[in-house]
């Protein structure tokens, strides 16, 4: 038995991948970058821009740790090819607190309600939660449970996450 032939498709020979120039706004700053078309937005943020607050948990769209805002909406940066995000406005966890360090209300709520343990899914949870409240999907505990289900927390801080998100939704 052998492994499958990696060249099984019968199409033209490989060419070295072109790089593409991409313009993005990341946390309010315009950036221009040449990327391999295979580079995901997640890899770009982490490995090229050193914005490592956004975490890689699965690279398959199955955990939510890489959640960022793309044009104001929560999205999974692991499933976005950077080339296709040309002209997009990206916001990451690094941009949530004020420049003077004052925490965003959602960050404060996560601290106050201990809505985290290991902290690895936390940036994704918070970016997701901030959007969840803006979407109007945090009007009840059950709403929050449903609309925060795209962010897995293996430590299972879910009850405290629900409390944190609800407290922010209610104070709006």
């Amino acid at each position: 038995m052998t492994t499958p032939d990696p060249e099984r498709t019968s199409h033209p020979p490989l060419e070295a991948p072109d790089t593409f120039q991409v313009n993005l706004t990341v946390n309010g700053t315009a950036r221009t970058v040449d990327v391999d078309p295979r580079t995901t937005l997640l890899t770009l943020l982490r490995e090229r821009f050193d914005l490592t607050g956004t975490k890689a948990g699965c690279h398959q769209g199955t955990c939510g740790a890489c959640t960022v805002h793309v044009d104001g909406r929560r999205a999974l940066s692991c499933l976005i090819l950077t080339v296709s995000a040309d002209d997009a406005e990206i916001r990451t966890i690094e941009d949530l607190a004020e420049p003077d360090g004052t925490l965003h209300p959602m960050q404060r709520a996560f601290v106050e309600f201990d809505a985290l343990q290991c902290g690895f899914c936390t940036p994704g949870q918070i970016m997701s939660a901030e959007a969840c409240v803006r979407e109007g999907n945090a009007e009840s505990d059950d709403d929050v449970r449903e609309y925060m289900s795209g962010n897995l927390c293996r430590c299972s801080a879910y009850p405290n996450i629900v409390r944190a998100v609800r407290s922010v939704a209610e104070s709006r």
Partner: protein
């Protein structure tokens, strides 16, 4: 991920030209394609990014139909007031799919063409006729709890995993396409092929065809419709079995019925058998049960997926009863 060339297109003509190149695949929301490329399941030579095509997103409604642009995001359609009010099974099948992040990214067109979640297709190395024609089907011999009980063949039993497609097939949606010969319209029920002996060919689309919109007739059937989904996890999971149902009832008797099945079949599955069982009878727990039984009368279980045949009828039963109450929220 295998290297590929990339083109972003800004017109439909350009899209058609680029996507008919050998080895080309269309990139829209990317939630299926990027995942499968990363997992070495799909290896396009050329990627055609159609996200910026103008005029392909948004919902339109007339008195007779609802039209959803192919680049509309699942999340936007799920929360559209018109869809929620008059096409509840469509809205519910979107709401109960994936997660809000995925729904924010995934397009309607891409969602219809979502690939199976069969683990052998996805693992990138097991024999799989769908991924590598002629290598065999690992699911037929292996643990097959996720495999289809309807529509399977000796070559493939992979389940069509989508939710929206279940509602679309039930409510007789149409798909608008741009193809080499120009625009054309196809009944949604004809978009996916039966597995037969070519599981690698999932749809009737030709290379270069691009889905541009889906239209759903406005009818009393869909207005009170319901979508029921059962999965191992409450959210962010694929269905073990799901069902979309819509009924019209006059003088206490069902006059017309539509039933679609999900999570159990190789393609979006319309159950005319269940519909026939309902029409002409009052909607009761017994007739709903009978409809469920009829829907699965021809189902065949493998080793581990008898659950789909025991659960499926109950899901149909519940969908019918909810549709009878006007599509009560899950």
């Amino acid at each position: 991920m295998r290297p590929f060339t990339y083109a972003r297109v800004s017109s439909l003509n350009e899209a058609a030209r680029e996507s008919s190149r050998p080895g080309a695949m269309v990139l829209a929301g990317g939630t299926t394609l990027v995942d499968l490329m990363r997992g070495n399941v799909l290896a396009p030579d050329h990627l055609v990014d159609i996200r910026r095509l103008p005029g392909l997103d948004g919902v339109e409604e007339t008195g007779t139909w609802l039209r959803i642009g192919a680049l509309s995001r699942m999340a936007d359609v799920a929360t559209d007031e018109r869809v929620r009010a008059r096409y509840p099974a469509i809205a519910e099948s979107l709401r109960l799919a994936a997660s809000q992040q995925v729904r924010n990214m995934a397009t309607i067109g891409g969602n219809l063409l979502q690939r199976t979640r069969c683990p052998y297709y996805r693992d990138g190395d097991s024999p799989c006729n769908k991924r590598e024609p002629g290598t065999g089907c690992s699911a037929l011999a292996g643990p097959d709890r996720d495999s289809a009980v309807l529509g399977g063949s000796e070559s493939c039993v992979a389940v069509y995993p989508g939710d929206l497609g279940v509602s679309l097939v039930a409510f007789e949606a149409s798909v608008e396409l741009l193809s080499a010969g120009g625009p054309k319209t196809l009944p949604f029920a004809e978009l996916h092929r039966d597995v037969a002996d070519e599981p690698e060919r999932e749809t009737t689309l030709s290379p270069g065809d691009i889905v541009t919109a889906v239209t759903i007739p406005n009818s009393a059937l869909v207005r009170g419709s319901a979508y029921v989904k059962v999965a191992d996890r409450a959210r962010y999971a694929f269905a073990i079995a799901s069902a979309a149902a819509g009924l019209t009832i006059e003088d206490g008797v069902v006059t017309a019925a539509r039933v679609g099945l999900g999570g159990v079949a190789t393609r979006p599955w319309r159950s005319h058998e269940a519909e026939a069982e309902l029409v002409g009878r009052p909607l009761t727990a017994d007739t709903a049960k009978a409809a469920g039984r009829a829907a699965f009368a021809a189902a065949r279980a493998g080793r581990d997926n008898a659950v789909k045949i025991t659960l499926g009828p109950r899901v149909v039963e519940q969908a019918c009863l909810r549709a009878g109450q006007g599509g009560e929220r899950a």
